[in-house]
């Protein structure tokens, strides 16, 4: 089982804030408490977690932490690949993107351009596979997500 550990420092500050609120609640009067209005919203009470003293956290997967140098290096290659695709050189573009993925496998643009290169080469299966990966890695970027969706439409149009 994974133990709770994420946002630990955040929770400490929340505890203080919650404590403050609780004191205010007590001061505000028992009748209010009796109505049960002081129950905490489900799934967000750090105080109760603290109260139950969970074991030290250790195994919750962290969100990816971007190392700038990797991202920058990978994106530079992506730019080169994009230019190669624009000049109708999909094979050269794929060679460059493979290097870019090796440096930063979470750079979603690489998968987008891989899909583009494979579409150019006429392999819709590969294009679709990479489009799916682009979808995952670019979902939080609205502009890119839209491009990925449009690419998917182009891939699926017979």
């Amino acid at each position: 089982m994974m133990e709770i550990h994420s946002k630990k420092s955040l929770r400490r500050s929340e505890i203080l804030s919650t404590a403050f609120k609780t004191i205010l609640f007590v001061l505000a009067g028992v009748p209010f408490l009796i109505t049960g209005c002081a129950s905490f919203p489900s799934g967000s009470s750090p105080r109760t977690q603290q109260a139950s003293k969970p074991e030290p956290p250790h195994s919750q997967p962290e969100a990816p932490k971007k190392t700038d140098s990797r991202t920058i290096a990978s994106l530079r290659l992506t730019d080169q690949a994009q230019k190669l695709i624009a000049s109708n050189q999909p094979d050269q573009a794929i060679r460059i993107i493979e290097q870019a993925i090796a440096i930063d496998p979470t750079n979603g643009q690489n998968y987008y351009f891989l899909a583009e290169a494979w579409l150019m080469k006429g392999d819709r299966n590969q294009a679709m596979s990479f489009n799916r990966l682009a979808e995952i890695y670019l979902e939080t970027d609205a502009a890119w997500a839209l491009k990925v969706t449009r690419q998917k439409e182009r891939i699926t149009i017979k």
């Binding site: 089982m1 997967p61 995952i136």
Partner: protein, 755 residues
């Protein structure tokens, strides 16, 4: 009579001209194909061991210098700074001219890369690939073709001085030259000139067999005359420069000025100095006698004699003569050809030979580019070698010199997303055993197979689902089978996460039988196993043999959003003119969903944080890793497969004859994995996988497996679920009785307790 002789010579000459024309119009020389590693990209901020980088530059033949590098191939190393004049890069992905750069490293990280002349920052730098292997024909000749235009005049003159000073004056034969040579040789041994002109030598080398008969001598003479009529002097000289035998590199003959220039001075012909040119020119007479690698004094004597002739002929000035004569002979040094990454090369060769004949590979001068990363390969070889020695030291009963019983191992390192095979070690010592355990061995994977069972279970079960930990007896083919846990596991049931983390056999079999063995086989087949998966419950415990490289590849989808990559070793093949005649790209196939792949990585990470691979941190691995140990019956095989988003490595330890090892995957294979990964910091980003759509997080009561009740459940834990599979109910064990007043009082009490 004279007319008849002349006519006969003419007819014979015409006949020979056809032979010469035919030979020259077809391929002139056999050029062996060469195999290269992958190129390497360097960038600021990259983790890189300085020691490893310097070693790589050494393998690329960069020559250490104590001055600022001003020629391609030179480098200077001062403290944390490496300055080098890059060689030209000529790979399918990129071509560029060499230029001087400065790399600054600090604490095993590249701080910056700048252009040495302009000071411009360089964001990305490609280092050229390393030469790994040469496909020789049975004659084992190495040759590097050059054009006459690349040869400096002083080098050409040195050859003429040594062999045929009147080359540009005569018509193929030089009767006066013969007499002069005799006179010179007798006079003062200044020059040991031979009587044959360069054209005659070429005719002899290129067309004729070496026996010494009058007929052959006559044929050589007529042929030289014919060649002089058919070709320009410079054409003849160019063929000569490419043809001439100039020494021996181990069992391989060094042919042609281009190769000799590399072999003796590790530089292109165009950069040879006068003194160096004279050394090579002096070799024609007796390459292995005058070689600077054989006898420096004799070599120096011969060189100076040639320089003297050049001075006498006024081809060089007195000053040039004095400088060159006083310069020492400093050959670059060489390594005899040895097969690097031999098991990988065998694996690659089998693919190449499906595309090209052996004759093609040894004669057409192809350039074969591969996925191999030499630093990873060296790290893998060292980790295996050190690891096996350590195991034997700890348990001397495993020491055995019999190759069939010797402790063996195999390592495969892949990039899980691209499918690149970065390194492959198929055994402990290629010289004693060429059997490639990475690609040819079929071994039981033991618990290293379990992830494929658990993956199948994810459709119906979650990480908090309970699986049976009660011993049971099964009847298989009429025989009873009673699986057991490797070590004691408490309780009648365990969660699915604990079952994989602690590799609980009883729970794995319980899960497999709940899913159905056929279903497991059907699903697992998609992961590219070519070996049969036998439909028995023991499949869940890894009883069906697999090939290590197929197991490594089958783990890749967990690290690659569910995409199974094609295992790539061969990338591109270029012909002599640089045209790509074969190109292979990464290709993938979806075998499971990104959400399930993420779930598997999360489960397999628990193996490292809370389970059988917990010792990984003791071996110095602190970055997040997912992995699985495997140990087969009687400890015949020990496995560890571990991965991060950037790299995946499989380690197998065992013996060919199945001798028990007295250890586990965790104790035998895992330390080797750790050693390997620590040596390649550039692959350690420290990042974990991005959570894909289709995964939700919940806080769960670790006792009931239901949604935790705040303040009630004593051990709430964070857990992830596939969408739609999270428990709907709150914890029934610690459910509150519903009185809001009591609940608030408890909240206050808990808060006070927590202060």
């Amino acid at each position: 009579m004279l007319v008849v002789i002349l006519l006969g010579t003419g007819v014979y000459g015409w006949h020979l001209s056809k032979e010469i024309e035919n030979r020259f119009s077809t391929r002139r020389w056999k050029i062996p194909s060469k195999v290269y590693s992958d190129s390497v990209v360097l960038y600021p901020g990259q983790h890189m061991s300085r020691h490893a980088l310097l070693a790589r530059l050494g393998r690329l033949h960069y020559r250490l210098s104590d001055r600022l590098p001003n020629r391609k191939g030179e480098m200077r190393h001062i403290g944390e700074t490496i300055e080098l004049f890059l060689n030209d890069l000529n790979i399918p992905a990129r071509k560029r001219e060499g230029f001087p750069v400065k790399l600054v490293l600090k604490e095993n990280e590249i701080v910056n890369i700048t252009h040495l002349q302009s000071g411009e920052q360089i964001p990305l730098l490609d280092l050229e690939p390393e030469e790994l292997m040469i496909f020789f024909d049975p004659d084992r000749e190495e040759r590097r073709l050059i054009s006459i235009n690349q040869v400096p005049q002083h080098v050409t003159n040195a050859f003429l001085a040594a062999e045929d000073a009147d080359f540009y004056q005569h018509y193929g034969i030089d009767p006066w030259g013969v007499l002069r040579a005799l006179y010179v040789n007798m006079r003062d041994r200044e020059m040991s000139q031979g009587g044959s002109t360069i054209t005659q030598q070429l005719a002899k080398n290129y067309f004729l067999t070496p026996e010494k008969t009058m007929t052959r001598k006559l044929k050589e003479t007529v042929m030289a005359l014919v060649m002089e009529i058919m070709y320009e002097k410079d054409e003849i000289l160019e063929i000569y420069f490419n043809e001439i035998y100039l020494g021996q590199k181990g069992s391989v003959s060094v042919n042609g000025l281009g190769e000799a220039s590399r072999f003796y001075f590790d530089k292109p012909v165009s950069e040879l100095s006068l003194a160096e040119g004279a050394v090579i020119a002096g070799l024609v007479k007796a390459p292995n006698r005058y070689s600077p690698y054989v006898d420096k004094d004799l070599c120096l004597e011969r060189r100076n004699a040639i320089l003297k002739t050049m001075l006498r002929r006024e081809w060089i000035s007195q000053k040039d003569y004095d400088i060159s004569r006083s310069s020492p002979v400093t050959p670059a040094g060489f390594h005899a050809y040895g097969k690097k990454a031999p098991y990988f090369m065998d694996y690659l060769s089998s693919q190449l030979q499906a595309l090209y004949t052996r004759e093609t590979l040894s004669s057409l001068g192809l350039s074969v580019f591969t996925t191999l990363d030499t630093q990873v390969q060296i790290a893998a070889e060292k980790a295996l070698s050190d690891g096996l020695a350590r195991i034997e030291k700890n348990d001397p009963t495993l020491m055995n010199t019999d190759p069939g019983k010797m402790l063996q191992g195999a390592i495969i390192v892949m990039q899980p997303k691209t499918g690149y095979i970065l390194a492959m070690v198929g055994g402990r010592d290629y010289k004693t055993s060429q059997f490639n355990r990475a690609t040819q061995a079929k071994r039981q994977p033991g618990s290293a197979f379990k992830p494929f069972v658990f993956l199948c279970g994810l459709d119906q079960y979650t990480p908090v689902s309970k699986l049976s930990n009660i011993p049971a007896t099964y009847t298989v083919d009429g025989k009873s089978w009673q699986p057991q846990n490797y070590s004691f596991i408490e309780g009648e049931s365990v969660s699915l996460r604990t079952a994989i983390a602690r590799s609980v056999n009883l729970a794995a079999v319980d899960l497999a039988l709940k899913i159905g063995i056929d279903e497991i086989i059907q699903n697992t087949r998609r992961f590219g196993f070519s070996t049969p998966l036998n439909p028995y419950p023991s499949l869940a415990l890894g009883a069906s043999e697999v090939i290590p490289i197929e197991l490594a590849r089958a783990y890749c989808p967990f690290a690659a959003d569910g995409m199974l990559p094609f295992p790539l070793s061969l990338k591109d093949v270029e012909d002599e003119d640089g045209n790509i005649i074969e190109g292979r790209h990464m290709t993938v196939e979806s075998v499971t969903s990104p959400a399930k792949a993420f779930m598997m990585s999360s489960l397999l990470r628990s193996v490292v944080t809370d389970g059988t691979a917990g010792s990984l941190k003791n071996w110095g691995i602190t970055q997040p890793v997912a992995g699985k140990t495997g140990t087969t019956n009687d400890s015949r095989d020990a496995w560890f497969v571990g991965y991060t988003p950037n790299i995946l490595a499989l380690v197998w330890v065992g013996t060919d004859d199945g001798t028990p090892l007295h250890g586990t995957g965790a104790s035998l294979a895992l330390p080797i994995w750790a050693d390997l990964v620590k040596q390649i910091p550039q692959f350690s980003s420290g990042e974990w996988f991005k959570m894909p759509p289709g995964i939700i997080e919940e806080t769960i009561c670790s006792e009931s497996g239901h949604i935790a009740v705040r303040g009630q459940c004593p051990k709430p834990v964070h857990e992830i679920f596939l969408e739609g599979q999270a428990p709907a109910n709150t914890c029934s064990i610690h459910q509150h009785d519903g009185n809001p007043f009591k609940k608030v009082i408890e909240e206050i009490r808990n808060f006070i307790d927590s202060l």
